[in-house]
């Protein structure tokens, strides 16, 4: 059974590394926000595995706080991107011109 705990830890570690790679590479800010979400899911899974390994329920409120934090973070990043004017988009944020809305009110 100990081997399975090690396998869980290794999987989560590799997942965090790959998520960090996408965080550094990501072409647009939304990709980065998405990879932060995945990193946060890995952190939640890791904390849960810790709690299960030690049979220790005292860190369960931390899971609640982290999931709240992830929701608020990704919503606020999305809203920030929506409000940023198009002409201020940096050149590496590839904007495909077919989809920029015309005749529609932006919220």
């Amino acid at each position: 059974m100990n081997a399975l705990w090690v396998v869980i830890a290794v999987l989560l570690g590799v997942a965090s590394l790959l998520g960090t790679a996408r965080l550094l590479l990501g072409p647009s800010i939304l990709d980065r926000a998405l990879s932060v979400d995945v990193l946060l899911a890995s952190a939640l899974t890791g904390l849960g595995a810790y709690a299960a390994f030690n049979r220790d329920p005292t860190i369960l409120p931390t899971l609640l706080v982290l999931s709240l934090l992830g929701f608020v973070g990704s919503i606020s990043i999305s809203k920030f991107v929506a409000r940023r004017p198009e002409e201020h988009a940096r050149p590496e944020d590839t904007v495909y011109p077919a989809t920029t809305e015309q005749g529609e009110s932006r919220e």
Binding site: T45, P57, F71, S74, K79, D93, Y96, T100, E101, G103
Partner: protein
């Protein structure tokens, strides 16, 4: 609880947590390999909902035999699960909407795009409206 029953619970719990960690790993691989924002969102939602629920189930099975586990611990687990189920689709919807509206979607990878047809119809309606009427 008998010794064997606790052992069975532990095995089920560790298999659940292993599945959750595997989903997390799969999501990270998908983040690296998938080409655009929408497909990355597709893979990133797996550990956030299913993986999280599996891990919470594993924690619940694992702390059940402990004497001092109260109703508040299971309440916290249920609360985390409910919260993930409610918030992850909302966050994903808003991120996808902003990505579409600011042009971060690769249209050559989209099979059908019903929103584009709707937007096009709306644009045509605005364009063909006779002058003199109010603007929307």
């Amino acid at each position: 609880m008998s010794e064997q029953f606790v052992s069975v619970l532990d095995w089920v719990a560790i298999l659940c947590i292993l599945a959750g960690a595997l989903l997390s790993f799969v999501a990270a691989v998908g983040l690296i390999r998938f080409p655009d924002l929408l497909s990355r969102m597709h893979t990133a939602a797996k550990p956030q909902v299913l993986g999280m629920l599996l891990v919470l189930l594993g924690i619940g099975l694992r702390i059940m035999p402990v004497e001092e586990t109260g109703v508040f611990d299971f309440g916290t687990l249920v609360l985390v699960g409910l919260f993930q189920i409610v918030t992850v689709p909302v966050a994903g919807h808003i991120a996808a909407r902003v990505g579409y509206r600011t042009g971060r979607i690769r249209h050559d990878l989209v099979v059908t795009d019903e929103l584009e047809e709707r937007l096009e119809a709306k644009r045509r309606a605005v364009r063909d409206r006779p002058p003199g009427e109010g603007t929307s």
